[in-house]
């Protein structure tokens, strides 16, 4: 215990930037208390490998009814979007160099992990009553959305195991940040000069 603590302190000093270094050497203060298991039980945050997903399960059919009652008014009867995001479609629209044509980013076309869908629906949806759905309801509506997105079959059941095993179409669509890009000071003469559009009448 003690050795680990000292090691951590050394690591911290090594990492500390200009803001923290003035406070070295580091110490602990004994503030804060231990939370109970029950207090922590209300929180959840699944990882893509399924760790942290709660127990429960739901079917596509159950999910359809949850969707119609809880989601359709904002996300549309056919998941086409409304005041809430469009949820399905858009595959093939991400590769695009047309400044006039926006890509269609949906659960189906863009989201890399199915666990994220469970997590977000459970924590933040429905808009007017976030965190009000049971785990079974969230698994079910997750299943329905994934089925409508043609990612899982109609008879699929979503639970902690099956959800983590879902492979999303855009799973490999993300790359790490390679910035900073290095820009030389710009050339002197512009190649484009565009005025703002005339005022709308």
């Amino acid at each position: 215990m003690r050795t680990a603590g000292i090691l951590t302190n050394i690591a911290l000093v090594a990492l500390a930037g200009d803001v923290l270094s003035a406070d070295a050497p580091r110490t602990t203060y004994g503030f804060g208390t231990a939370p109970t298991e029950a207090e922590l039980a209300r929180f959840f945050a699944p990882l893509p490998d399924g760790r942290g997903l709660p127990p429960g399960s739901g079917s596509v059919l159950e999910g359809k009814s949850v969707y119609q009652q809880q989601c359709a008014s904002c996300h549309g009867e056919n998941l086409q979007g409304g005041s809430g995001d469009r949820l399905i479609g858009g595959r093939g629209s991400l590769v695009n160099d047309d400044p006039e044509k926006p890509p269609v980013k949906t659960v189906e076309s863009y989201w890399p992990y199915a666990t994220t869908l469970f997590d977000y629906v459970k924590r933040a949806m429905p808009l007017t009553a976030p965190d009000s759905l049971t785990n079974d309801q969230v698994y079910a509506v997750t299943a329905y959305i994934l089925e409508q997105a043609k990612i899982i079959p109609q008879d699929a059941i979503m639970n902690a195991q099956t959800l983590a095993n879902v492979r999303m179409p855009n799973r490999d669509g993300f790359v790490p940040d390679r910035r900073p890009e290095r820009f030389p000071p710009a050339a002197h003469s512009p190649h484009q000069s565009v005025a703002i559009l005339p005022a709308a009448k």
Binding site: A11, Y29, E39, G82, D97, F183, A195
Partner: protein, 451 residues
């Protein structure tokens, strides 16, 4: 002046109305967008007809109205109004700057923008600090607020606000910028004023406790590499942060500009992540879970990722890179005849301090060093100034900054060459290109693309 601003607001309303009724736009508001927009616009026009001040007064009237005093012909000939026994001061009754909300589909997941054109110095008044919230402004009693720290720690801990205020404190003056700042400006000049092109950045003095100090109390276990920060708002906003960053310079803030945080800035507790994109500065901070991997939350997969033209999206693009903008003269202003003008603006970088700002008045053909006004702090707005004599000639005003890492602020053309132009909003986030303002021979200033 009010005339000019309500005209600008009216034009912007048109642009936004188009976006809200376009099913392909991220701002699509559903079938009734047009109807809603029309109604809002008509109400605005009616307010403008009724009161000479138009939209300015309409917007300010949402706050409790400050006392209005008659201004005597000579204030030195009469006693001023008495000092109250207890008060919380307000600005002069003659000052009217307000944040303005971008017309998103809902007013809960939305953002308001800082009127940079009227700012002085580097500090943003707390009441004008931009807002970006994903589930409205949470109302939290600090006496009942708890910060939990758990996951890969030796002993999970919970802290009351009283506990947190007992730790040794630190203060840091730094900017927060939303990574969506300027998203309308990728493919063509769209917004009219610097408030709407650049108003998602603000600077405050923030006071709190180093996050490392709080993590030490729980004891991070070997193998931990990331942590999740979670807000206590309706969105339960979550982002994953590399542990190395958390230990280096993150802190939890309870203070802003000498008092408690404003509600819309995360009262009573906000995570500060210096130099990183704004949304990761989790407001209403209630929980930190330590882990060995990123959680891949909705905000860091489906939202705050930068989709390139080749269909791949850059993920965890945390740093806000060096950027500058001339705040005066800027869009919708009119120069008041030939003569001396001070060109002034702000520069900032998430990777360090601003080392140099150059100004061009001829569209980038020649550049001249601007004066940097102290204090010049890392990860902080830095004010620059450049003297200019205007002789009624047409001019394109630009500023370009270089930060302490040697990074040079790019032109929009250079940025698009790297990111592509994938739709009207490009890669949406992290637009830090040089801004151009055109001064016409009649002195009117407008937003243009010139690169």
């Amino acid at each position: 002046m009010a005339e000019v601003i309500s005209e600008a607001t009216r034009r912007e309303a048109h642009v936004l109305a188009a976006k809200r009724s376009d099913p392909a736009s991220p701002y699509y508001a559903g079938d009734d967008a047009r109807r809603h927009e029309r109604r809002r616009f008509m109400l605005g026009s009616m307010a403008a007809l009724g009161a000479g001040g138009g939209l300015l007064r309409g917007a300010a009237a949402q706050a409790p109205p400050p006392a209005v005093h008659d201004a005597p012909p000579d204030a030195s000939k009469v006693q001023g109004y008495p000092l109250a026994d207890e008060s919380y001061g307000t600005r002069s009754q003659f000052e009217t700057e307000v944040r303005r909300r971008f017309q998103t589909a809902t007013p809960q997941s939305s953002w308001t923008m800082t009127p940079l054109e009227h700012g002085c110095g580097i500090i943003t008044p707390s009441g004008l600090h931009f807002e970006r919230s994903h589930g409205g402004t949470a109302v939290i009693d600090p006496a009942k607020h708890t910060l939990y720290v758990h996951g890969m720690v030796r002993s999970p801990k919970k802290f009351s606000m009283k506990d947190i205020r007992r730790f040794p404190s630190m203060s840091r003056i730094m900017f927060i910028e939303c990574s969506g700042n300027g998203l309308t400006e990728w493919s063509k000049p769209t917004m009219r004023t610097v408030q709407f092109t650049h108003g998602l950045t603000s600077t405050s003095e923030w006071t709190g406790v180093p996050l490392a100090m709080i993590l030490d109390e729980a004891g991070v276990r070997p193998g931990a590499k990331w942590l999740l920060a979670e807000g206590g708002d309706a969105a339960a906003m979550t982002r994953s942060i590399p542990l190395a960053k958390a230990l280096r310079d993150c802190f939890v803030a309870y203070g802003q500009n000498g008092e408690a945080l404003r509600p819309e800035q995360g009262y009573p507790l906000r995570l500060m992540v210096p130099g990183y994109e704004g949304n990761i500065h989790i407001k209403w901070l209630r929980r930190i879970e330590v882990s060995d991997a990123p959680f891949m939350t909705r905000e860091e997969t489906s939202k705050y990722t930068d989709l390139l033209g080749n269909g791949k999206a850059v993920q965890f693009s945390f740093e806000m890179e060096a950027k500058s903008v001339i705040t005066s003269p800027s869009g919708e202003m009119t120069l008041d005849g030939p003569g001396f003008y001070e060109i002034t603006g702000l520069a900032w970088s998430g990777r360090g301090a601003i080392r140099r700002v150059d100004v061009s008045v001829d569209g980038g053909r020649s550049w001249h060093a601007a004066a940097l006004q102290p204090p010049i702090l890392p990860v902080c707005h830095t004010r620059f100034r450049f003297p200019w004599r205007w002789e009624s000639q047409e001019a394109i005003l630009q500023s370009r900054c270089i930060d302490s890492t040697g990074y040079v602020q790019p032109t929009l053309g250079q940025l698009i060459a790297v990111r592509g132009l994938n739709g009207p909003l490009g890669s949406i986030y992290h637009l830090n290109a040089i801004q151009s303002w055109r001064v016409a021979s009649d002195g009117s200033v407008s937003n243009v693309h010139h690169y």
